[in-house]
Structure formats: structure tokens, C-alpha cells
Symmetry: C2
Subunit: 135 residues, 2 copies
Amino acid sequence: METDLIRRCIDAGLKMTDQRRIVLKVIDDADDHPSVDTVHQRARTVDGTISIATVYRTLNVLDELNLVRRHEFNDKLSRFETNLDQHHHVIDVDGGDVHEFQDSRLETLIESIASELGYELVDHKLELYGRRKSS
Amino acid sequence: METDLIRRCIDAGLKMTDQRRIVLKVIDDADDHPSVDTVHQRARTVDGTISIATVYRTLNVLDELNLVRRHEFNDKLSRFETNLDQHHHVIDVDGGDVHEFQDSRLETLIESIASELGYELVDHKLELYGRRKSS
DNA sequence: ATAGGTGCAAATTCTTTGCTATTAA
DNA sequence: TTAATAGCAAAGAATTTGCACCTAT
């Protein structure tokens, strides 16, 4: 098994240890925005000996390589996501649920705003805080 | 002196102590995005005995009252801003400078996207990460 | 063979909190 | 007068790191 994420790590010159492979799989499989602790717990179900330090180190490396994005939504925990194309979020201010979405109008607008301001866009984060409409 | 921020705090039922007044002034005067520690240092230049605990407590109250917004840009420090109308930021990925901007097209689009998704917008944050164009 | 990675525990860093004394309202 | 707030120091929580051992390349 050679996921895209694994390949990118190898290309970046990282050693592919068992622990790293497990953390990468957890991250790759996640369709939510897990905290470090959650990633650790999930990794433990595969290998009970994997340490939280390794999880921290791995996530930090992935962050540096821009293979994951780090967020802090309502709480103060670091939360991670791999799906780098859909970085728009609606956070429910009541429940705290995080819902992802994608919108091309937004992409286009953001791109041109950055350009107008004299910047070449590298990445971006948009977080909408809202309340479910009852209607 | 009765700044708007002070007025809002009083209206919210907070006691206006000397320390609080100083922290509010620091926040109000800031045109950057100071960390808790920076706010503390600035407050100290006015009153050398003000404690960091008080700064934390004051900023937390302001955050709860939505009189400041809490950010975490490139570093992992909480950073604060009072200017709640201009919550769009470009972060220079090289220098780390944070530049604020305002864009009505964006406001409008975000508002309608939230609505389309079934949310009533309460607040939002947009962070663009970019690199200065040399051209 | 060896540069890089791991686990563990200790150390750091940031933030909160219990307590007693103080003070704005 | 009294409920809220301050300062201090201790406690907590999240994250990083030094070190001795291990392993992918």
C-alpha cells in the first residue's frame, strides 16, 4: 500500500517507519478534524505502543511539509486535516460541529484579492461561525 | 475618558478597575495583533504591578463579550484584535507580518454562502497566507 | 554504517485557578 | 456593604525535548 501521502513523505526524504505509516493512515482516513490526542488514540488501536511524542513529531513534520493544515476552531486544541482542497469551514457556534464546504466563487475572489494586495497566494483558511437557521 | 470599549464593558456589568482600564486602553490603542504577553508588557509601562493573570482574565472576558477576536496566526500564541469590522488578514509566509484588509465583495459573498448552507452568520475569519510579489 | 526516528520522562510554555486581600458600585 | 476583582503562587494542560536505544536506507 502506497498512498499518496506516504509517497509525498518518502519524496520529502522521510524514513517510513511503522509508526509513521500508522499515523499517516489515520490522518488519511480521517474525514473529520482530529486533535493530536484523537490521532494518537486512533493510532493506538493499530499499535498500542505508539507514543504521543511520535504523533506530535509526525504531525509537526506534516505541517511543515504542508501535507496537513493545522486549525484551532472553537477550542484551543490543534486540529488537523489532510484534505487541502476544501479549507472552508462553517463552525456551529452552538454545537461546535465543523462542516466543510467548497465554493469556487470564493476561491476566485480570494485569489484576485491576494493578487490586488500584491501577494502570491500560498494557502488560506476561511472559518464561518454561524447558527443553524430554523426556517 | 470614556472610550467606547470602556462603555461597553460597563454596560455588560463589569467593574471598571484601574487595571482593567489600562488593559482596555492597550487593546484599544493597538493597531497590530498583540499576544497576551505583549498586552501585559504594554500595560506594565503604565502600571508596573499589573499581573499577567489579570491580563488573561480581562482578555477572556472581552472575548466572551465579543469585544475582541482571538486569532492564532503562524505561531501558536493567542493574538487579539479589537477592530471587529476588519477581520480579513494576509499573513506574509516569509516575514510573518499580518496585514489587515476589508473587502465588501467578500463580505457579501460570505454572507450569502452561509445563508445557502442554512446558517445565520455570527462571525467569520479569513486568513490568506501569501508571499509578496516582486513585480 | 549511520542519519534519522522512537519511547519515556522531564522540561517548557501557555493558561487557569484557589486563596486572601482589596475595591468599585 | 458586598459581590466582583486583583495579585500571587500553585496547578493544569498542551507541547517539546534530552537521552539512550533502535531501524530504514
